[in-house]
Each structure stands twice: as C-alpha cells, then as structure tokens.
C-alpha cells in the first residue's frame, strides 16, 4: 500500500516539477508548484511527519503560493517571450541535469549507510504534541528569532509594496 502511494505522489511531484519548469505562463507553473507541495505533504505523512504535512499545506500551499498567485494575477504579466536563452543552456542543459541526478543517485546509494525502508506509522514522532514539546524547549531561541524574522519580513514587504502617497 505504501509503495503504491509513494509512487503515485512521487510521480505527481516530478510531473508537476517538470511542468513548473516547462510552462510558459507563470500561473500554470504556480499551480504545478501547488501540486508538488500537495504531493510532498502526503509524502511527509508517509514519513510520519503529520504536523509538518498539515503545516506544509497551510503555510506553503495556503499562504505562500497564494501570495505568488496574487502577484501573478496583479501584475498580469504575459507568458515569457521565446528566445534569448544562451545556446549553452539549450544544448548542455538536459544532459547536465541528468548527469547531476545520476551522480546524486550514485552518492545516495553508495555512501549512505543502511537506510530503513519506509513503513507508514512506524515512526510517529511527528505529532503536534512531540513537535510542540521540542520546539518550545530545545529550539526556543530559533523559534523566537524566526518570529522576529517574520516581523521584519512583514515590515519590509509593507514598506516596499505600498503605494507612494505623495
């Protein structure tokens, strides 16, 4: 059962990833990115990270991608004009990509020690209770720092994006 689920969502993720790269219009690549995030959420569930899966959907798909879709809609920029891509990228692009994936695959297969096989539910570490406990004890400082970071980001965004009222 797990393998079937894994394959379904892995393929969805890869297809959406490809779609993101190949699509001309940003809105379609945005939606394909949402597809990738959804499938990743499911994979997180498979790996026992429930809270993270929910967070992924809420934060990534629900908030960040909405921003992206918003900006795309607001700017209403058309699809990319063809041409202008360096000849090197045209020719060497794909083979290099495959080479990179092959190398990473090789590295993963050989270097890493015995990896477990993924059984759904065999590691239930990712519950909200567990993450909450760890987050507010061991990782309290990073948590506070990131909250400050988010505050700064909000201020920055507001300042940058508001219309000049002058």
């Amino acid at each position: 059962m797990d393998t079937i689920l894994f394959f379904i969502f892995a393929i969805i993720a890869v297809v959406c990833g490809l779609n993101l790269v190949l699509q001309k219009h940003p809105i379609s690549s945005a939606l394909s990115l949402i597809g990738v995030m959804g499938s990743l959420a499911v994979l997180y569930l498979m790996l026992g990270a429930e809270f993270l899966a929910a967070a992924q959907v809420i934060v990534y798909a629900g908030a960040i991608m909405v921003l992206f879709v918003f900006v795309i809609m607001l700017l209403n920029a058309g699809s990319e004009k063809p041409g202008g891509k360096s000849w090197f990228a045209q020719i060497a692009g794909i083979p290099l990509l495959l080479a990179f994936i092959a190398v990473m695959g090789f590295v993963i297969e050989t270097f890493l020690p015995a990896l477990r096989s993924v059984r759904f539910g065999s590691f239930a570490g990712g519950t909200a209770r567990e993450i909450g406990r760890v987050l507010f004890t061991e990782y309290l400082l990073p948590f506070e720092v990131t909250s400050v970071l988010i505050l700064i980001a909000i201020l920055g965004a507001v300042v940058l994006a508001r219309k000049e009222i002058d």
């Binding site: 360096s86 990228a89 590295v107 890493l112």
Partner: protein
C-alpha cells in the same frame, strides 16, 4: 696657550662681515676683515716667540669631538716647526693680500661678501695647518675647497665664473674622495687618525718594499693632494680658477691652498717614509706636471693664465722635492714660491687694475713708463721665479734639483730644462707687458699706495727669502742631508739666464720672431697652444661617456623602463585582470545563477572528497 684663538679671529671676521656686512660702510668692513687677520698674525708671532725653540711639537687638546665605539677623535691643535712656517706664510702673505684687495676691490660690488669669504678661507686654512689629526685636517681641507669655489664664483652673474667654480669644486671633490678613502683605510688599519699615535705605531713597522697597506694609504692620500694642489690628473681646474678676482688667485691659487697638498704629505712624512714606491710616484708626477705646465705656459696670452700654469709647474717642483726625499727643500720652495708667486699675481692685478681690466698680453706693452713700482717689483719676482742666482727662487729650486740629481740624474736634467723654460715664459710675459709700446686703448695709471705697498714688501721677501735657512730650521723634523756639488748650481743658473736672454732676444730685439717660430713649429705649437687638448680629452673620456651612460642606461633604462615600466606596468596588468573579472558583473541574473550553481557544486564536490561521508 689656547691655540684655538688663531683660527677664531678670521672666523669672527667672517661672521661679523657675513651677517651685518651689508649695512657696514667699506671702511668698517675693512676694519673687521683686515683687523681679524692682523690680530691673528700678531697672536701667531706671540705664540711662536713664546714657544721659541719648538723642537718638539706642542699639542693642546680641547674636547672629544667624535667618540663612536673604539674610534676616538678629539678637537686638538698642534704647533711644531713645520706648522710655524705655514702659519707665518698664511697669516703674513694673507695680511698683505687683504690690504692689497682693500684697494683692488674698491669699486667692485659685494665688497663685504668678498672679505667675509676671504676671512672664512683664512679660518679653514689655519685650521688645516693646526690640525693634529687627519679628520680635522680634512675639515680644513674641505673648507678651503668650499671657499675657493665661493671666491672663484664671486662674479656669479657671469657664466664662465660659475662654470669655473663648479669645475674647481668637482675636481677637488674627486681628489678629496681619494683622501677620504685613505683616511678610512688608516682608521681600519690603525684604529685612530691622530698623527702622533700613527707615527709611533708606524715607526715599528718595516719599510714596505712591495705594495702593502701603507702604500695604498699613501697613494690614496696623494690622490687627494693632486686634486688640491693641481697635479697631473686633476690640475685642469687651476687655469680656469683665474675667473676669480686677482687677489683670490694670489692668496688661494698661489700662496696657500694649493700648497696644502705638499704640507699634508710633509705632515704625513712618517707614513711616506715607509713607502718608497709612493715617493717615486710622487716624484715622477711632480716632474711631469712641471714639464707639461711649463711648456703650456709658453703659449698663453692671458697674463693670469701664464702665472697659473707657472704655479702648476712650481708645485710640480715641490712634489719632485718631496718625492726625492728632500722634505725640507720642498717646504723651503713652498715658502719662497708663496712670496714671489703672490707678488707676480698682485703685480698682474695692479696692471689689470691700471689698464681697466684688460688681461691679454697682446694688448699691453710699454707699461714701465706708466707703472714704475709695479715694473720694479714684478722684475724682482720674475728674477726670483726663474732662479736667478742670489734671489730666493734660486736657493730653493737649486736645492730640489741637486736632491733630484742624487735620487736620479735624468730627473735633474729634465728639471733644469724646465727651469730654463720657466725663465723663458716668465720673462716673455714680462717683456710683452712692460716693453715696446702700449697696444691697449686705456690710459694706464699706477695703482694707489694701498696696492703698491704690499708689492714692495713682497718684493723684499722675494729677493731676501732665499737667505731664511728653512732647511736647517726643519732639521729636527726632517733629516737634512747635504747634497749636490756646486757645479750643479752653476749649470742651473746658467740655463735660467740663457732662458731670459732668449726671451729678450725674441720679444725685444726682433718682435716678429715669435710668430715665425710659431708658424715654423706648426703642429707642435698648436698642440701646446691647445693645452695638449687635456680638457677635450677629459671631456671625451669622462664627461661625455658618463653623460651618455646616465642618459641611456640610467635615465632611459633604469628610470623609464624599469621603474616607470614596473609601476605603470603593474597598474596596467591589474586593470587587465580587473577587466576579466568585470565580465562577471554582467548584470544578467541567469549568469549569476549559473555561477551560484557551479560554485555550490564545487563546494559539494570538495566536501565530498574531504569529508568522504562518515
């Protein structure tokens, strides 16, 4: 006994005239300038009378001037019989020349400047003579060089004066360079510069048959002497030094400064005694300088140049005397030469003063009617210099020639011939100036008494100087060996008289013969007339190559190619490298992205290699 007062008086004269001279009247400047020399002369007489027998040197040390490590140099002055003679010459002749120049410089600009420099010269000369170690002597040595430069270049408005001054200074410096090296070698070898200590150290050393350290020291010191006393290689500056006012030529380039070289070697006799090779070199150079200068003197038309070349020639005789070991005869000739050469120059000065600055013999003549005193005093001087029996020149020159005969007979015969030539060219100038009719277009007139009085005093000394028996006065310092048979004396006297008769014959009886001889001898005459092309040779051998070398190699090569090339080149190359990296800032985000990815892959690769995955 505070000997330091002797040089102090001229120094004070220099300072006073130098600082406030501009505001003083001529009389006041005279008062200080001449007054300081009079005081110094009087004090010298008083000191010498106090120390009369003076068989041994009287040294006074005042303070330690330099103390670095083992080298200890003190500011200490010495007086011994040799110094006594030099002091008397310097202050005596100096005083006469100061009085003379008061009249001569009457209507010249920069009156106070002239006298302050003259006093400064006196101070340095006295310091040089009184010094009891090489370094203090060297201070005086440099000081007089400086003053000669200042005084030669007195008419700094004129180009020839400036060039002559610079030439004199540069040539002197070259000589001083040799002197400095000699001193350094002494310090290295003996560890001190004091005459007494060196003398005691050298006494125990063997006489150097072959070339050793002592020979090197003495030779280097001799190089300094040739520079200062205008001998063969470095004499070129003296004839041009005539660009200065005549009293300067008289005092510095006749009586005192040029004899400094001879005095220095006499002072360092304890060194030269041990190096026969150097003495032989000194003798040879002295002889050749004498011969060469005398021949050039024959063809000169400027009266001061004639006397300048005669100075070079007489200095050659002094070095000959020293070279053959007759130190006392050399010094004796220094004294007599001081008298008659100063007189010759002052006489020439009064002639030039009389005929409005004209110096060319061809535009003089028949002046005995207009300047009787100058005529008589100049006659006495000419007789003295040509060694006419009974006059001072005869005694000192003859002593040197007989000593030369003992040393090497051929030297005697060359010396005698040169004496004859000397007599010839001196009287040539004398007859051209005073006999025949006046060829100039000025109204010649006799100089005032303030100029003629010193002439008379000097004339007396030129005639009587020979009887001051200097050699036996210096006996305790230099062993005086009786030498030469009377026959040699008569031969030299006869030759000099012959020279006078020939000159009389050519220039008085048959005025046209000079030109005919010149035409007849043709190339030889031209060679001599052009002073053996010495200046041209130096120019070609040294000046032009050095100039060319500095222009091509130093300027173009080192400066432009190496330094500029290096610096600008570096800057250029950096810009080149900068240009390469500038390409990276192309502004295209895709380039940046590619660089980012490549960079991260590289880091990944390195980490993979290094880390190797735990």
């Amino acid at each position: 006994m505070n000997l330091w007062l002797i040089p102090l008086f001229p120094l004070l004269g220099f300072l006073i005239n130098g600082i406030w001279g501009r505001r003083f009247s001529k009389a006041l400047v005279n008062l200080f300038a001449v007054g300081s020399v009079v005081a110094s002369f009087a004090y010298v007489l008083w000191v010498l009378s106090a120390l009369y027998p003076l068989t041994t040197a009287h040294t006074e040390t005042y303070f330690t001037w330099i103390h670095s490590g083992s080298l200890q140099i003190g500011f200490d002055l010495t007086v011994d019989r040799l110094t006594a003679i030099m002091l008397l010459i310097i202050t005596g002749v100096g005083l006469l020349i100061h009085i003379y120049s008061a009249g001569y410089m009457e209507h010249e600009g920069g009156y106070h400047r002239f006298f302050s420099f003259l006093n400064l010269f006196m101070f340095f000369m006295l310091l040089l003579v009184l010094a009891s170690n090489f370094l203090l002597l060297f201070v005086g040595w440099e000081g007089v060089g400086l003053c000669s430069y200042l005084l030669i270049g007195f008419y700094f408005g004129e180009d020839f004066a400036n060039n002559a001054g610079t030439k004199a200074f540069v040539v002197n410096r070259i000589g001083d360079f040799g002197f400095l090296l000699g001193m350094l070698l002494i310090v290295v070898h003996f560890g001190t510069l004091d005459f007494a200590t060196i003398a005691s150290a050298v006494a125990s050393m063997p006489v150097e048959a072959s070339a050793g350290v002592l020979t090197a020291i003495t030779l280097l010191l001799f190089v300094g002497a040739t520079g200062k006393s205008a001998q063969i290689p470095l004499f070129v500056w003296l004839p041009d030094a005539m660009a200065g006012p005549t009293p300067v030529s008289a005092l510095i380039h006749a009586a005192t400064m040029v004899t400094a070289g001879v005095y220095m070697i006499a002072r360092a006799a304890f060194l030269y005694g041990h190096t026969p090779i150097t003495l032989h070199v000194v003798a040879l150079i002295g002889l050749f300088t004498a011969v060469m200068a005398a021949t050039i003197g024959m063809t000169q038309n400027d009266i001061k140049r004639v006397y300048a070349y005669s100075t070079v020639s007489q200095l050659g005789y002094m070095f000959l005397g020293i070279g053959v070991g007759a130190y006392s005869d050399g010094i004796f000739h220094v004294m007599t030469h001081a008298f008659f050469k100063a007189l010759l120059f002052l006489g020439a000065g009064s002639i030039i003063h009389g005929i409005g600055g004209e110096q060319d013999l061809r535009r003089m003549g028949g002046l005995r009617k207009y300047m009787p005193i100058t005529f008589i005093t100049l006659l006495a001087a000419s007789l003295a210099i040509s060694g006419f029996p009974g006059f001072s020149g005869f005694f000192s020159k003859d002593a040197i020639l007989s000593a030369a005969y003992d040393y090497a007979p051929w030297m005697y015969w060359v010396g005698v011939i040169t004496a004859g030539i000397t007599a010839f060219y001196v009287f040539r100038a004398f007859f051209l100036a005073f006999f025949g009719d006046y060829r100039g277009h000025h109204h010649p007139h006799e100089s005032p008494w303030v100029m003629t009085l010193p002439l008379i005093v000097l004339a007396v000394f030129s005639v009587g100087g020979g009887f001051l028996n200097v050699p036996n006065w210096l006996a305790p310092m230099f062993p005086n060996v009786e030498h030469g048979s009377p026959l040699l004396m008569w031969i030299s006297a006869a030759v000099s008289i012959l020279g006078i008769v020939i000159a009389y014959y050519i220039y008085i009886l048959k005025p046209g013969t000079a030109e005919s001889i010149a035409a007849a001898t043709g190339p030889v005459y031209k060679l001599i007339d052009h002073k053996y092309y010495v200046d041209e040779i130096y120019g070609a051998l040294i000046v032009r190559p050095v100039e060319a070398f500095s222009r091509t190699v130093l300027w173009k090569g080192a400066d432009i190619a190496a330094i500029d090339g290096g610096v600008d080149g570096l800057g250029h190359r950096l810009r080149g490298i900068g240009a390469i990296f500038r390409q990276m800032q192309s502004g295209s985000i895709r380039n940046y992205a590619t660089w980012v990815v490549l960079g991260s892959l590289l880091v990944l690769f390195v980490l993979g290699l290094a880390g190797g995955g735990r």
